[in-house]
């Protein structure tokens, strides 16, 4: 029953606030697209318009080719999972899961077999008669998922589905939801402010800010090739270097420093370069890098699988972050605060981004 979801030229404002601005988005059949952005960026409004709880001021929403822009939510045949699960507290697990089937007039026997099938799928067999408040957070989340999937929805909407779970559970649920989504081949729109969730669960990520989509692409593309400064900084940590291209357009002149550019730029053009901390090299190896700086370590943090360093460079506004994979026993901190070292990177690891 999977169908393509297509949003075209969607506008939505609340009074003077433009919540969603000229939004175009397509989620292909069976694909999972994550809408990622800070709170208030318009991602939830977009989801609510797809669900039918809000109407756009302009534009069309199509599901499997049908225009549903102004269709009420109960006629859209969607599934939705909310952050707080939103299970009906006055109904048992079985009644919760069967709710959608009952609304569409399925027979009692059909409801029973489907409920049993779903409970098997979410690995909670035999919990039919329990009430939601008797289940743990993760179990409630799985029941909520089952409740939304049992009706074979055309599109599944996930609104910060893992926000209420603790960290370790969140990671296993990411795998679980993704696996289920792929196995059922269900078109899914995921809204999240958690970049890790967006990157690890989706086929495509759309980064939103201030009502607009800044970049859409595969998770690795978005991470490795951010189009703008906002995307680079919102997804993980980025070291941002700003300046102007020099006379022959091959180097970035930033104050007293000059760095090689990955590709030539018009002379004198403003340039913003983003380098991921894990692409930075620290210590003796850095002396061989074409772009390098000398700085003093102002912070060193052990993070398990890697160590994070904060380096202060004379004449630079922001500290530079460097992640180093564990090379000693379990990521032991090999450099100490106060030491002076070289840090550098290869020209290809510097990414030119839009200044916005």
């Amino acid at each position: 029953m999977a169908a393509e979801l297509r949003l075209a030229d969607i506008h939505k404002s609340y009074g003077p606030v433009q919540a969603v601005d000229e939004l175009d988005l397509t989620v292909g059949e069976g694909e999972l697209l994550a809408l990622l952005g800070p709170s208030g960026c318009g991602k939830t409004t977009t989801l609510r318009m797809v669900a039918g709880f809000e109407e756009p001021d302009r534009g069309t929403i199509r599901i499997g080719g049908d225009d549903v822009t102004y269709q009420p939510p109960h006629k859209r045949n969607l599934g939705m999972v909310f952050q707080n699960y939103s299970l009906f507290p006055h109904r048992t697990v079985a009644e919760n899961i069967a709710f959608g089937l009952r609304m569409s007039g399925a027979s009692r026997a059909e409801q029973q077999t489907q409920v049993a099938r779903m409970l098997d799928m979410i690995r909670l067999p035999g919990r039919e008669d329990m009430y939601p408040n008797q289940l743990s957070g993760g179990q409630q989340q799985r029941v909520a998922l089952a409740r939304s999937l049992v009706v074979n929805p055309r599109v599944l909407l996930l609104d910060e589905p893992l926000g209420a779970l603790d960290r370790s559970l969140r990671e296993s649920m990411q795998f679980e939801i993704r696996e289920m989504q792929q196995r059922l081949g269900i078109t899914t729109l995921l809204v999240t402010h958690d970049q890790e969730e967006a990157l690890s669960m989706s086929d495509q990520v759309a980064v939103m800010n201030a009502g607009r989509i800044l970049q859409i692409g595969a998770p690795s593309t978005i991470y490795d090739r951010p189009a703008s400064r906002f995307v680079a900084e919102f997804l993980g940590t980025s070291n941002i270097l700003t300046g102007k291209a020099d006379a022959d357009g091959r180097k970035l002149a930033a104050g007293a420093y000059s760095f090689a550019l990955p590709e030539p730029q018009p002379a004198g053009a403003p340039v913003v370069l983003s380098i991921r901390p894990e692409r930075m090299v620290l210590g003796d190896e850095a002396e061989r890098c074409p772009s390098r700086l000398r700085g003093r370590i102002t912070g060193a943090v052990f993070r398990g699988s890697y160590a994070a360093y904060q380096v202060r460079v004379e004449g630079m506004e922001n500290e530079i972050f460097v992640y180093r994979q564990a090379d000693g026993p379990l990521g032991a901190i090999t450099y100490r605060v106060g030491e002076e070292h070289w840090l550098g990177w290869n020209a290809d690891d510097g990414i030119l981004v839009d200044p916005e």
Partner: protein, 288 residues
């Protein structure tokens, strides 16, 4: 060892004493002017005519005699009718207050509570002005609109008493329901809609059952107050013969104090039963 124990003991004692001093006056006052009179009242209902022996005769009479049973029944029926009307009127108002009123909710609450702030005398005269034979309503229906041949008889009928009671009691219902409605997560309703329930179905399947506790609390409150209502019924008339009216009559006309005491004990027991029900409702809410 011994001294340490003594110390804690004396400290506890001091704290207990201070606590006692703080609540003492209130407790003394309640015991002297509420508990003892109630007790005295109850005892009187069990005393034989000469004041020496113990008898259950009055309760036997109250609970078996057709006439007295009728009075109790009428009290309960009137309160039930008032409660049902309050629920029917109160629910939509509470729904509007919580979901639609927005920044006007303060005004709506004020309008709701306004009847409670006006004196009973003013309210009664207000109803006279509205519903008298030549009152506003009849004038409108007969003369202005010509819908009726003869003026409606509303004053001194059961209807006016019910209208009067509903008028003062509906705020209790509305506020009880509104409190619960306020706490319902809108996403539960949205979940139902997404799963294929229309507006009415969503209301029936989710909103109404989840606000049942509010209706319950409101109903118990309204029922209890209606059960004991006296002034409204005296002033508006309507020919009701309820327990409070009958107690008054026993005191002033028949001067059978013991019978009046027995009846007030019955009224008290009904109220206590209601309180017990409410307590159980609240506990169920707390438990879930």
């Amino acid at each position: 060892m011994a001294t340490a124990v003594d110390k804690t003991k004396s400290r506890l004692g001091a704290r207990g004493l201070r606590g006692l001093l703080l609540i003492g006056p209130a407790v003394l006052f309640l015991v002297a002017f509420f508990v003892l009179p109630l007790f005295d009242n109850a005892m009187r209902s069990f005393a034989t005519a000469d004041g020496q022996g113990f008898t259950l005769a009055r309760y036997v009479q109250l609970l078996t005699d057709r006439f007295y049973l009728g009075v109790t029944l009428e009290t309960v029926v009137l309160s039930t009718v008032v409660t049902l009307i309050c629920a029917a009127i109160g629910y939509p108002v509470a729904y509007f207050l919580v979901r639609k009123a927005g920044r006007w909710s303060g005004l709506v609450i004020f309008l709701l509570i306004a009847p409670l702030l006006t004196s009973i005398i003013m309210r009664t005269f207000g109803w006279q002005v509205l519903f008298a034979r030549r009152g506003l309503v009849n004038n409108l229906l007969v003369q202005e609109l010509g819908w009726l041949e003869r003026p409606l008889q509303i004053m001194n009928t059961p209807a006016i008493a019910i209208i009067g009671l509903v008028h003062v009691l509906v705020p209790f219902m509305v506020l009880s329901i509104a409190t619960v409605l306020q706490g319902i997560d809108r996403r539960l309703e949205e979940s139902a809609q997404i799963l294929g329930a229309g507006r009415w179905r969503t209301f029936r399947e989710v909103t109404l059952p989840l606000s049942a506790d509010g209706i319950g609390t409101g109903a118990i409150l309204v029922f209890m107050i209606a059960n004991g209502s006296f002034v409204t019924l005296v002033l508006l008339g309507g020919g009701f013969q309820t327990l409070p009216l009958f107690i008054y009559q026993q005191f002033n006309t028949t001067r059978d104090f013991s019978m009046a005491s027995a009846m007030s004990t019955v009224l008290l027991v009904i109220a206590l039963a209601c309180l017990y029900l409410q307590l159980r409702l609240v506990r169920r809410q707390g438990g879930s």
